[in-house]
Amino acid sequence: GAGVSQTPSNKVTEKGKYVELRCDPISGHTALYWYRQSLGQGPEFLIYFQGTGAADDSGLPNDRFFAVRPEGSVSTLKIQRTERGDSAVYLCASSLRGYNEQFFGPGTRLTVL
C-alpha cells in the first residue's frame, strides 16, 4: 500500500515569508508526527497528533510554528515569518496508534534565503 507522502519535496522561500508543508499519512494510521532534521543531525520531534488533536506540541520551537490535522488524516505544518534558521528537512511519520513503530515520509527540504 501507499506510504507516507509529503509535499512539496523541496521548498525555497525568502526570509519573512509564510510556508505550508503537507503530510498525507498511511491510511488508517491514527497517530501522526512531525520531526525536523538539520544538516548532520538526527531528527528532532516537533508535534504529535492522535486523531485530530495535537496531543503533544512540546517540540515546536516557538509560536511561529503551528500544525493542524482537521479531519484526522492529512496534516499541515505552518511556519510564519520564516527565518534562515528554519532551513531543514521536515519529516512526517505516522503509526497505527501511539506507542507503535513509525513510518516516515521522504521529507520536505525547506530552504529559507
Binding site: 520531526y35 538526527g42 531528527p43 520531534f45 504529535y48 503533544d56 506507542y99
Partner: protein, 113 residues
Amino acid sequence: AQSVTQPDIHITVSEGASLELRCNYSYGATPYLFWYVQSPGQGLQLLLKYFSGDTLVQGIKGFEAEFKRSQSSFNLRKPSVHWSDAAEYFCAGLGAAGNKLTFGGGTRVLVKP
C-alpha cells in the same frame, strides 16, 4: 531526560567485512528501541525494532541488533557489508509516553571496495 547516543559519527568498513554500530540509551524505564537507515535524499527506513522478549532482534537487509539492559545498549550488526549499505544509520528510542522518538545523532557508514 531521555536520550540516545551514537558515539561514532563516521565508520569506514571494507566491503565484505563485518559492521557494528553502537547505540546507548538513557531512559527511566526500558524504552522501545529502533534502528533506521537513511540513504542520501531518502526518507528513514526502519531496519528493526525491539519491544520486549528475545534480546537478539533480526531485521531487514541482513541486520541484527542486541539489546543489553546491563549496558543500556542496542548495537546494530551485520556480518558482511555490501556497497549498498553505505548510508546514515540512526538509533532511536520511544519512551513510556509513546508519543515521540528520540534519535541519536547518527553514524555515517562508508564502504570501501
